[in-house]
């Protein structure tokens, strides 16, 4: 039943601005959610979705802009508890449940029903209230189930009940389906529709176009921190969404590649039928000398798991690998010794030794050169560091600077340097330029290109589509652990990649 315009808007954000000491993450974003609506928020990595959500839930503070919830203006800064009390609930991928406690205990944590005038929890009432909620939505749960023993899908349901028991009127779900099976996803959709019928709004954030298409009443598209478009139901189709997400400016990023230069080159890595249960299935490809092989796909498609298995960190179940023509069983130690390098994603957590100096960070993979018999040769070590710094142009170029104090871009350069000083034949690079300024990005692209020109093979995993199209000679698209497409085209565009990664088949192509 429609009432007059204003009162059916539950959440309204006007001209939201957020910047972190320089880079502007959200610029004059207008955003609204109606009552009882399923509203999807889409955009590429870095478009500003999670920042906007964090601002709405109170996790971070906005620089300027108004937020009205149920007509009431919200202060510039507020806590998550404050938002929760108002009725704004959020369910993140890393669920915030307490292991060791039951479903009922988690639902009512900090809000447990007490015996009057005491601090004693009325357990019977708590379980009964939990059961009531469970029955109302027909969830496959029992109040006495222990969180540790139930599946992720079930835990998500507990989070939903937790939000509902707090009288949420806006339920925000961030990538809720990444760990669910098909049946569980269907169940979640049913639940979302039930919530909608009760007048609760759902703000749905996802990379999966088919879900967005199936669920949404409206879709808001963000790009580079700005609002691009708000699509009404009839206007929603996946291809259009992707087009808006990427925009037209990237036609320039269509790169022409010279295929013939790859043909006829010696194979460096041959992979056949590689499978790791639950992570990736039946991966086969051949990587040639001096080739840059890009691996694209949505988050969770198995890209990182694949390169980790190829480098030797994680085991796999089936498949054959050949390196330089010979059968190869990967292990980190063997890989390094045989001229293979690895730059992990999450540079701060996995890639660098933050409390140590640049010199020490570069030495770490090079003991065979600077300490052949166990004792460090200081002169060699210093020279190696200087060479490494010079190769990638680290600023400041002082080997004794602690890496933790460098900018993100320079930290990544150090991570690159420790491999570049070796004679590599193959290097795996996983998300090399996340959170790095444009200038340094270009520098790193230059190094990758130079590596390829020198005959080093590169496997590049990236969610940055222009990056992938610019650097790669070929691109493999992974989806749910399988290779679904190989792009050998002369013209690679970001749009084509994202469409493939989202599983959109040719039928959605524009005429």
């Amino acid at each position: 039943m429609e009432t007059e315009g204003k009162s059916d808007i539950l959440l309204e954000c006007r001209k939201i601005v957020k910047s972190y000491n320089g880079p502007i993450v959200l610029e004059d974003v207008n955003f609204s959610v109606k009552r009882g609506e399923i509203h999807s928020l889409v955009g590429e990595n870095g478009a500003g979705k999670s920042t906007l959500v964090k601002i709405i839930t109170g996790a971070i503070e906005r620089n300027s802009g108004d937020i009205l919830f149920k007509g009431q203006a919200l202060p510039l800064q507020y806590s998550r508890k404050y938002a929760e009390n108002l009725g704004i609930a959020v369910i993140y991928q890393e669920l915030s449940l307490i292991p060791g406690m039951t479903v009922a205990q988690n639902i009512f944590l900090s809000r447990e029903p007490l015996y009057p005038h005491t601090r004693i929890i009325n357990k019977r009432k708590m379980n009964a209230m939990a059961q009531e909620l469970i029955d109302r939505y027909q969830f496959p749960l029992k109040p006495s189930d222990i969180i540790d023993n139930i599946s992720i899908a079930q835990r998500q349901l507990v989070e939903i009940l937790k939000a509902l028991s707090g009288n949420a009127s806006l339920m925000i779900m961030d990538e809720p389906t990444s760990s669910l099976t098909r049946t569980e996803v269907e169940m979640l959709f049913k639940i979302i529709h039930t919530l909608k019928s009760e007048g609760i709004s759902v703000l749905y954030i996802s990379h999966r176009m088919e879900e967005v298409y199936a669920l949404s009443d409206r879709v808001t598209v963000l790009r580079d921190g700005k609002l691009v478009s708000v699509l009404e139901k009839e206007q929603i189709n996946p291809a259009e969404i992707i087009r808006l997400m990427i925009g037209h400016k990237l036609e320039e990023n269509a790169v022409y590649h010279n295929l013939p230069k790859i043909e006829g080159r010696k194979p460096v890595l041959e992979v056949e039928g590689l499978t790791s249960v639950g992570k990736f299935t039946d991966i086969s490809f051949t990587l040639h000398e001096g080739e840059v092989l890009g691996i694209g796909g949505l988050v969770g498609s198995g890209r990182t798991e694949l390169v980790r298995a190829l480098y030797g960190i994680d085991p796999y179940n089936k498949g054959i690998i050949r390196y330089l023509g010979k059968p190869w069983v990967p292990s980190v130690h063997a890989s390094i010794r045989s001229g293979i390098g690895f730059i992990p994603e999450e540079r701060r957590i996995q890639g660098i030794l933050a409390p140590l100096t640049i010199k020490r960070n570069i030495s770490i993979t090079n003991f065979d050169r600077i300490a052949p018999r166990g004792v460090i040769k200081n002169k060699q070590e210093k020279q190696l560091a200087i060479d490494g710094i010079r190769l990638v142009n680290v600023k400041p170029p002082d080997p004794e600077v602690v890496v933790g104090n460098l900018s993100g871009g320079n930290q990544q350069k150090v991570g690159l340097a420790k491999w570049l000083v070796r004679s590599l034949k193959l290097i795996f690079i996983d998300e090399p330029t996340v959170g790095i300024d444009v200038g340094t990005k270009e520098e790193i692209y230059g190094h990758i290109r130079t590596l390829a020109e020198q005959g080093v093979s590169v496997i590049l995993v990236s969610s940055d589509l222009p990056e992938l199209t610019r650097l790669s000679d070929r691109v493999l698209i992974l989806r749910k652990g399988r290779i679904i497409k190989e792009f050998k085209e002369c013209v690679l565009t970001s749009e084509k990649i994202l469409r493939a990664a989202s599983g959109i088949l040719e039928e959605y192509d524009e005429a």
Binding site: V332, S335, I349, Q350, T357, T365, V375
Partner: protein, 325 residues
Amino acid sequence: MKRNLLIYEVRLGLVLLVLMAVLTIISPSFLSLTNLSNVIWSVCFIGILSSGAIYPIITGGIDLSLGSLAALSGILVDMFMNRFGINWVVAIVLTVLIGALIGLFNGFIVAKIRVPAFVVTMAAKTYLYGVALVVSNGAMLAILKPKAFIAIGTGRLFNLPNPIYIMLVMVVLSQFLLKQTAFGRKVIAVGANEVAAKLSGIDPDSIRLLSYTLSGATTAIGGVVLASLTQQVFAAAASDIELNVLTALVIGGASLLGGKGSVVGGLLGAMIVAFITNGLNLMNVPAPYHPIVTGSVIILALLMNEGYLVPKKRKKVLGHHQAAA
């Protein structure tokens, strides 16, 4: 880090000099040979133990069995020499090997079975004490021979007691091992960021195993020297010395989260603590107040390490604690 730590050690040295100056002013007898030789011994002992105990700490763990193992080592070496009649050199080698094996055992449980280090080594502290009681029959045994063995602890070279040389050699060797060898770098890497270390081809498990083995070996050496110097062994010798070693290492710049530490710093820290205690003695402060002071010193040292009392430090190092956050 290297530059930071070097400056840190120099600063520590200055603190030590200032402390010595203050103590000399308060009590001129501080610098007398008799007084200093009282202090020197405890510094030597803690220095010897620190040279090995620092390794588990840098990997982010800890070894709390130092005291019991040292006492047990003294008892064992005496047993080998005087009850079994084994040559004293062989006896010492055997004892150190046993110490290393015990360290290896602890390291195995920590690294391979993944039990928290303080539980493993705290339990070891208890049962090794029991073993020491059993082997020594609960008695305090005097070591009267062989003369060569006793000379280790009581002899002098160039008018300085032998233990000083032993301690200096071990501290220098350990500092070298830590800063100038691939192994030492790997230990620091494992403590600084285990994941990154693994991706760089380091095996954290074997590094940890070796660290605890080293700790066990140096503790055994310390126990042997203690037995030689005091010419007596008993199960409760060196009890709770771990706290002193920890305090010394923490003052010396070690972080209990791992990734940082200096043997030389630990030695300076041991001297600072020993001089403070000595100063309290010279000022005739009653014995009960000493642990109050040392306990406060360790809490102060922790506060400083975390950057609370020294405003400059807070901004400087974005240590791995923050990186991991």
